[in-house]
Amino acid sequence: MKSEITIKSVRCKGCGICVAFCPKKVLGINLLGKVQVVDSEACIACGQCELRCPDYAIFVDKKVEL
């Protein structure tokens, strides 16, 4: 896993922008209508989701290998 994805669920409105613009299909919308990580291993930490989220609900940090 190259990244650490943080979701502030209280801010998420489930619009699906992050899901649509993720190039690696890392994200999905759960039954409660909020974003969730469905394939964390696939994440390349490109940050498209964070960049486009209109609700400041998702954050991606590159994982620093120790």
């Binding site: 801010r11 409105k13 619009c15 699906g16 960049l51 209109p54 609700d55 400041y56 954050f59 940090d61």
Partner: protein
Amino acid sequence: MLERSYEKYFRQNRLPHLWCPGCGNGTAMKSIVQAIETKNLDQDKTIIVSGIGCSSRASGYMNFDTLHTAHGRAIPFATGIKLANPELNVVVITGDGDCTAIGGNHFIHGARRNVDLTVIMFNNHIYGMTGGQASPMTPLHKKATTAPYGTVDRPFDACHLAEAAGATYVARSTAFHVKHLSDMIAAGFDNKGFSFIEAVVQCPTAFGRKNKMGDAPDMMKWMRDTAVMKAAWDKLPEDKREGKFPIGLFYQADFLEYTTAYQEVIDVAGGAK
């Protein structure tokens, strides 16, 4: 996770904001605070002024002195703030209806005076707050609740209008081009004069749905596919421009800024301290 540095510019206890799922206003608001951070504007000396409508609810979420004025009136209030205390940075957030319909006169006269304001107009092409009525920027033939057969009113090009009226910085970007939008706003802060930035934003609820433009991601893809950078636009033959629109810096000029000009009046009248 590392807390994002721009979060300090939001009133944390006011979030999440009231905008609909997928609304581009949130993206535009973030672009503004990132531009404020880039230009290192003093948070205590930066005033956010807005009008009425979806766009104008932004002021309530931003951690500055903020002023949510009446419909269309943000620019006169902002002019008063700037002229009364020129050391303040005054940022106006408005919408296409607020700015070009009910506030149209204030918009062109603000530009004419070249007051040092940075005006960011969130253009969602519709009156969102009231449920989807046509605005002066609803594109021709698009549908709205007050234009059920498609609007026959010719829309404004607010950037052309700003330039013609005397603005000294005019740019456009979109909620898809997030970094570019923030850069356009930041450069507007650098301009000492009336700066106008049109931020095209998606309104999936009141505009997109009615015009079969799909959901929020679809509308963002529409921006991605139809917005053309200024340099490329200029080379684009007329027949290839159909259905597309330019983004980027359109106009920049040097002209004496209003509060500076008025300080000269004070000096002549002998009122300088």
